[in-house]
């Protein structure tokens, strides 16, 4: 009679720790089925988010609007980093490529809200293709599935950031390209170009490449790193050769805002939640079984980079989306660690779990913006039929009307009604202790703006800062406005204020 192994005597196999540990788990087909279902669901969910964003007729937020206005106006002759009394007029702390990358699509398909999103979707699609090919070529089927699972779940977790009209989708793509090209014959050169481009998008983007740089140093030594430094430096400066993009003004803008930024405790909590979900992806495979020293170092550098990113991600106005460009190196680290066992293999389900809530929030926010395109169309129609020019979109008092004003400004800019001033940069300046609206008082007193379109029924220019809830426009600015401008007409969504001096 054979006894079951949970019974004595000693025919039962001697007890090993691996019996409860992950190493003893062979991959049953049920686990692969779970992973395949999760990939399919994540792809569908990401597709829904992308579709909803494409047809929304609005942007995720005011930063997207500000980037597109600055880029479009630069293409049509305005300087990108224009300073006025030592402070930027419109453009923020992003590098030139963040403003320029969407422009070819706008020129090709015609300037519009949907066309401005095409390049970001293209970047997202290319990232998926690049990482997909890399995983299929360099991994077993199981590893490739795991990598694709983490990729789709990660892109979904970071919701609109994966495809919004900012630098992030392009940074993810550049890190993915660097991951794939590191092992190539010209790895140093390719990685250098990718870093140069990424830093041109966002100045701190070199951080995402740290694991790749350590890996390059491992295989190619200091010479490889020297090549990276040379090519990244050269690539970084190329966009500054374009007329109208001042390196000096860019550095003034960035240094002012980086030096003056403060850390938000609520963002630190949010970032910690995201980090807690991300950490098991590498920690569990690391403790599950032995790995080659180089692969362990790669994984630990990825974790250290996650820690380094805590500071920029916790600055006011930032957030956990700063972790997104780390996704390709995270996937590569997991591929090298070859996750085994239920915990290591199923850790990406924690991402899916969190992504479900994140997706609900993302779609809810998008739904709240439905119909805003009609308001911006009305603004455009009013501008087209206005007997006086130039016309500008102003601001009311509510955060919602502020966002709609930013969208309307973008639509007007696309249709060649230049934006002369904007409240978005005032938020950033307020955060570093600069009052930015007073310098624009001559625009009002000299009636350089003939007509203002302000949100209907709201107190003009009483917008509050999204950082400290203080007034963005100074008392003097509002006083100058009320002295010079009079309400002349009301449309469905706007109050029209004309320069009274001009009308007399």
């Amino acid at each position: 009679m054979t006894l079951p192994d949970y019974l004595e005597p000693a025919q039962a196999a001697p007890l090993q720790l691996r019996d409860i540990g992950p190493a003893s788990d062979t991959q049953p087909p049920s686990r692969s089925a779970f992973v395949i279902v999760a990939i399919a669901l994540s792809v569908v969910a990401l597709g829904i988010e992308c579709y909803q964003y494409l047809v929304l007729g609005a942007y995720w937020d005011h930063i997207d609007c500000s980037i597109l206005i600055s880029g479009w106006q630069h293409v049509h002759g305005a300087p990108l980093y224009e300073l006025q009394d030592g402070a930027p007029v419109l453009a923020n702390l992003y590098g030139p490529l963040a403003y320029l990358v969407q422009m070819p699509a706008l020129l090709l398909f015609g300037a519009g809200v949907a066309a401005s999103k095409v390049t970001s979707f293209l970047a997202l699609g290319t990232t998926v293709a690049v990482m997909g090919v890399h995983m299929v070529r360099r991994s077993t089927t199981g590893q490739a599935l795991d990598g694709f699972f983490l990729l789709t779940a990660g892109l979904l977790l970071f919701g609109p950031v994966s495809f919004w009209v900012r630098a992030d989708p392009f940074e993810v793509l550049l890190v993915a390209l660097a991951v794939v090209l590191t092992a190539g014959r010209r790895g140093g050169t390719c990685v250098g170009v990718c870093i140069g481009l990424a830093v041109n998008f966002k100045v701190h983007a070199f951080v995402y490449f740290l694991p790749i740089l350590v890996d390059l140093w491992w295989t190619g030594g200091w010479r490889a790193l020297l090549r990276v430094a040379m090519f990244s430096g050269m690539t970084f400066f190329i966009p500054f050769l374009i007329p109208g993009i001042s390196l000096h003004d860019y550095f003034v803008t960035v240094s002012e805002q980086v030096a003056g930024g403060t850390v938000s405790s609520s963002l630190m909590v949010k970032n910690t939640i995201y980090a807690v979900v991300i950490l098991p992806l590498l920690v569990l495979p690391l403790i599950a079984h032995q790995h080659q020293f180089r692969d362990k170092v790669y994984a630990w550098i990825v974790l250290a980079t996650l820690g380094l990113l805590f500071y920029p991600a916790s600055s006011q106005g930032a957030g956990p989306h700063h972790f997104l460009p780390l996704l390709p190196v995270l996937i590569e680290a997991r591929r090298r660690l070859e996750p085994e066992g239920i915990a290591a293999e199923f850790a990406p389900f924690l991402i899916v779990l969190t992504a479900s809530f994140a997706m609900q929030g993302t779609l809810h926010n998008m739904a709240s913006k439905r119909g805003w395109d009609l308001v911006s169309e009305e603004a455009l129609a009013v501008a087209r039929h206005s007997p006086v020019q130039p016309i500008q979109i102003g601001y009311g008092e509510s955060p919602k009307s502020y966002e709609i004003s930013e969208l309307s400004k973008t639509v007007l800019a696309f249709n060649f009604y230049p934006v002369l001033l904007g409240a978005q940069i005032l938020n950033e300046l307020r955060e570093i202790g600069i009052e930015g609206s007073t310098r624009w008082i001559p625009y009002l007193t000299e009636c350089r703006i003939k007509r203002w379109l302000l949100p209907k029924g709201e107190k003009p220019f009483t917008t509050i800062s999204y950082y400290d809830r203080s007034q963005l426009f100074s008392k003097e600015f509002r006083q100058a406005f009320f002295t010079r401008y009079k309400l002349v007409e009301t449309t469905e969504h706007f109050d029209l204020w004309d320069c009274a001096h001009e009308r007399q």
Partner: protein, 53 residues
């Protein structure tokens, strides 16, 4: 061991509690992760179904 004791041991062998405990922990561990996966998939499915265009 007397004949009656040997017969009793064969019919009712003593449990290896250590191994049994380990197996129980392993089963719990597996259940925890499968449950996480199921909950994650159910939640995501529900969000997807609610938001199909």
């Amino acid at each position: 061991m007397r004949g009656s004791e040997l017969l009793e041991h064969r019919r009712f062998p003593k449990l290896n509690y250590e191994l049994l405990g380990m197996r129980a922990i392993r089963a719990l561990w597996l259940s925890l992760w499968y449950a996480t996966a199921v909950v994650a998939l159910v939640l995501l499915t529900s969000v997807v179904l609610q938001n199909l265009p």
